[in-house]
Subunit: 82 residues, 2 copies
Amino acid sequence: MGRAEFEAKNIHRLFAQRILMLRTDRGWSQEVLAELAGLHRNYIGHVERDEINVGIENIFKLAIAFEMSIGELLTFDNQGEG
Amino acid sequence: MGRAEFEAKNIHRLFAQRILMLRTDRGWSQEVLAELAGLHRNYIGHVERDEINVGIENIFKLAIAFEMSIGELLTFDNQGEG
């Protein structure tokens, strides 16, 4: 349980970093990503600052905005490290 | 936006079906899955009956229980249909 608990905390940060990286790689403002995903701009800020436990529905909307499958969006290079 | 909204609703049901299928394929009770994921048995029931917007942290705990990456867990055969 220790490892699962530890990594479950990390998944938030990994996801926040992933969204920030994908967005800035494309040269999009938070407003552009929000528009494409059908979410509020402030919500994107919360996600990128790791202030929120994002639900599957909004993860899916973000995947659509990036034109990725939800599986691709949630594939982290460093998943499983440590 | 219509399509994204429509599919965002579907993602709940796809996820519910995926968890139910993976659990029953392994012959696990809800209690066994709950134990492995560090979640409450009632929570597993809510997920499988599509009554809850599962957050990324609990998605990750479920992935660990099934010994899958979160990306694998969220790869649906019928994603993108329609």
